[in-house]
């Protein structure tokens, strides 16, 4: 059985030409850009024996960074899902002065060098910063704590949810809401039973993107985190630290764990997203 028949078992004439070319190109591109560099990580970590590998990736200090990195990233993505949705809603549904300006501001975390964001946030939230000095009397410390990590991750994740939800929200007919209202649903019921399920696939995509970005984020976090071992150290920093000590194998070992874990979580979110998209009848 040739490759062509393998990928195209029914042997129907396709309307769109170039299936083989497109698939081949996609696979080559993906291999060159993503798979080969990533496999290098696995190869490098393979220089370690099983027990060495396990010792590195399960040391208490490293495990503490997993908890912070993945925990804070999930939380930040969740916060962005809620407030990003609200932001997108405000931008789509209402018109107010300065709307275009706010719309443009949303993308700023994309464009800003992450170090700039980190310095700005640290200056704001440090004990003597504008916001930090207001929170200090309340006993809330943001900079140099896990909370600071969360703030930085929320900051960089904002555009993802807004930009994925916005187009779907724009396409949403107001007729759906009118239909729900004419059937006796109140605003809360209309939102939870009609709008949210329709927006859910896009919202999940935005959540996944914000999460993925947050897990890998380095620049903006290290400034505000303070990088206290066991408290406010993130996994990417552990990897950098190990690299700086020329511990390439150790760095890649941690990277492998991070990679596998991230991949599994993204896979799960994508499956969830596919499932909810199917439920909204967009699978046809």
């Amino acid at each position: 059985m040739g490759v062509a028949t393998f990928f195209n078992p029914t042997r129907q004439t396709r309307v769109l030409p170039g299936f083989g070319l497109a698939l081949g190109y996609t696979l080559v591109y993906l291999s060159l850009v993503v798979l080969i560099p990533l496999s290098a990580v696995f190869l490098e970590s393979a220089t370690l024996s099983g027990s060495e590998f396990w010792a590195i990736v399960s040391s208490p200090r490293v495990v503490a960074t997993y908890k912070l990195s993945f925990g804070a990233s999930l939380l930040a993505a969740a916060i962005n899902a809620v407030f990003g949705l609200m932001l997108a809603w405000a931008l789509v549904r209402y018109s107010f002065p300065g709307k275009k300006l706010i719309d443009a501001l949303v993308d700023l975390p994309f464009a800003l060098p992450t170090a700039v964001a980190g310095i700005a946030l640290t200056a704001l939230y440090a004990g003597n910063g504008w916001i930090g000095s207001l929170l200090a009397p309340l006993g809330i410390k943001v900079a140099f704590t896990p909370l600071g990590v969360l703030v930085a991750l929320v900051f960089i994740g904002v555009p993802f949810v807004v930009r994925t939800v916005q187009p779907i929200l724009e396409d949403l007919e107001t007729e759906l809401e009118e239909a729900a209202a004419s059937l006796g649903a109140n605003r809360l019921q209309t939102f939870s039973k009609v709008l949210l399920p329709t927006l859910l696939p896009a919202l999940l995509t935005g959540f996944a993107l914000a999460f993925a970005r947050a897990v890998g984020e380095y620049g903006s976090v290290i400034f505000i985190a303070g990088n206290i071992p066991m408290v406010s150290e993130i996994t990417p920093l552990i990897i950098i630290t190990k690299l700086e000590q020329y511990d390439y194998a150790g760095a890649t070992a941690v990277a492998v764990v991070m990679l596998v874990f991230s991949f599994l979580m993204l896979l799960a979110i994508n499956l969830l997203q596919a499932w909810s998209a199917k439920r909204t009848g967009r699978n046809r």
Partner: protein
């Protein structure tokens, strides 16, 4: 359940959508709001539903003033042109929606909801598709689901906004007949909006003709077709031939021709416009006939028992600079006897014309 609207006025910026509209919709009747796009018919329907608020005027449902009642409380069933089905719900859940969102003490239990939904789906002949999603249905099926969904809450009135507007001709025709039968069965007071005169005349008990935010005529389908009250109605309902001319006593002078008329309410010497349906014109091949308007045969379209003959006015006889077009429908046998050829000069003799003063046209 009767519906009344009183002196409804609605403006969008400078555009007057509804200009002091007052109407009475009798209980149990199926009424069509008919008019060209932009005439205010959809706005009126939405004001009745409570989806739009009028600038002034009142909506009275069942004798009580509902002007300030929210659409949630009005208990009106609304069917949208583009169905507005909830695409993440099955057909069954779509229809059940109105029942499921009721406050707990009014909500029927799950078994009762299912029983009612299945009864409604039976009514719209879609019970077999209860577990499908809207994306898996055809346009006609979707609109029937939308109708079942609107009926599930037992609305006091049913409002349909261009319900068949997004469907192809064949399905439209079928659904029209089906809607009429359904209405006869349920007897719920219904209003539907359409720009399709055939649809309005075929389905409705009464037709409300609207133009530029005003009501032009309210009557039975037969009456609006046979006795149009205004030039607009005449022109809007079905094909029509128009003659521009001047009143000269019992005649209308159209260029060199004179047409007798029976109108008494027009002033001698006034500019006037006359209407005649295609089947009310007779073609006379003898060019020396003293009656009728001169015309040139342009095309003879033969399909079925009736033949449509399209004609142009003579060159030079153009009214207001543009040549007039005429249309005549007659039985096939008559056309065969006349043996018309393209470019042949004939005269058109109306058996009946209706004359309106010109400024109203």
């Amino acid at each position: 359940m009767s519906i009344q609207v009183k002196e409804i006025h609605k403006q969008f910026g400078e555009f007057v959508a509804l200009d002091q509209v007052s109407l009475d919709f009798p209980t149990g009747a199926l009424t069509a709001l008919l008019g060209p796009s932009g005439c205010g018919k959809t706005t009126l329907l939405r004001v009745i539903a409570g989806l739009e608020t009028a600038d002034s005027g009142r909506v009275i449902l069942e004798g009580e003033d509902a002007s300030d009642t929210h659409v949630r409380q009005r208990r009106v069933g609304f069917v949208f042109q583009h169905y507005a089905l909830f695409r993440h719900m099955t057909v069954l859940e779509n229809v059940a929606f109105g029942l499921r969102v009721k406050p707990r003490r009014e909500r029927p239990d799950d078994a009762e909801i299912r029983r009612r939904v299945h009864r409604l789906l039976d009514l719209v002949q879609l019970d077999a598709l209860a577990e499908r999603f809207p994306a898996q249905l055809s346009g006609g099926q979707r609109q029937r689901v939308a109708l079942a969904r609107a009926l599930a809450v037992e609305p006091r009135v049913l409002l349909l906004d261009e319900p068949f507007g997004a469907l192809d001709a064949q399905v439209r025709k079928e659904l029209r007949r089906w809607l009429r039968r359904l209405h006869d069965e349920l007897q719920v007071t219904s209003i539907f909006v359409t720009h399709d005169q055939e649809e309005a005349l075929e389905v409705a008990d009464r037709v409300v003709l609207m133009n530029r935010g005003r009501v032009e005529q309210v009557d039975t389908p037969a009456e609006v077709y046979e006795a149009p009250a205004t030039p607009f109605v005449y022109g809007f309902l079905g094909a029509v031939n128009v003659f521009h001319g001047r009143i000269e006593g019992p005649h209308l002078r159209v260029g060199e021709a004179t047409l007798p008329h029976e109108q008494t309410q027009v002033i001698h010497g006034a500019e006037a416009v006359a209407f005649s349906r295609p089947h009310e014109l007779r073609i006379v091949t003898d060019p020396d006939t003293p009656h009728g308007v001169a015309a040139v045969v342009e095309r003879v379209l033969i399909f079925g028992a009736d033949v449509r003959v399209e004609l142009d006015s003579l060159p030079g006889a153009a009214v207001r600079g543009e040549p007039a077009h005429y249309e005549v429908v007659m039985p096939r046998a008559q056309v065969d006897a006349l043996a018309l050829t393209r470019g042949q000069r004939v005269r058109l003799v109306p058996s009946q014309i209706r004359v309106f003063p010109s400024q109203a046209a």
